[in-house]
Symmetry: C2
Subunit: 102 residues, 2 copies
């Protein structure tokens, strides 16, 4: 990761029951759809296990620079996923963007 690049992550809680088919479907669709967007690098799915916050999952990805991040934001696959799935199935979330400070 160089100084231009950005680690974008979102931690979230779904409306679905834990361990439900709907939960698995959301996670796997998110993984396959979002990671297929060409500017997305190192897409990861995490379980959020700290009892100190209310979120259950994390999606994390890297962009080479701000232009790639913006291309992701306006990419039709991303917009469709947000409008048709995220808004419908996600209960709460927090977005975090990191730049390297090392």
């Amino acid at each position: 990761m160089d100084n231009q690049s950005i680690i974008h992550s979102v931690i979230f809680k779904l409306k679905h029951e834990q361990g439900s088919i709907e939960e698995v479907r959301f996670i796997e669709d998110g993984r396959s759809i979002l990671s297929s967007i060409p500017v997305v690098q190192n897409f990861r799915v995490y379980q959020q296990v700290s009892p100190k916050n209310d979120f259950d999952f994390g999606f994390s990805m890297e962009f080479a620079n701000e232009n790639d991040y913006e291309a992701y934001n306006v990419h039709p696959l991303h917009e469709k996923f947000v409008n048709e799935r995220w808004i419908v199935e996600v209960d709460s979330f927090l977005e975090i963007d990191y730049r390297n400070k090392d």
Copy 2:
């Protein structure tokens, strides 16, 4: 990262002015003290740049397993840093713990 390992991160906002000597000192002391604890792997410092939350920095580290995480929590260097610096100099924070779901 295997299935045992945990990525522990904390995003935070300092009481210090942005760009102040006190800010630099906190970040660099945090980096050197916490990364020196033997169980801590891949310690990273990030700037948090998303306008969608109120935090300015992130510390991130990996533990090989729960035992190493617990060893960190109770390590004297960690406890001293929390009691003498974190509680005094940090305005707000959120802890996140990730396990791999890939």
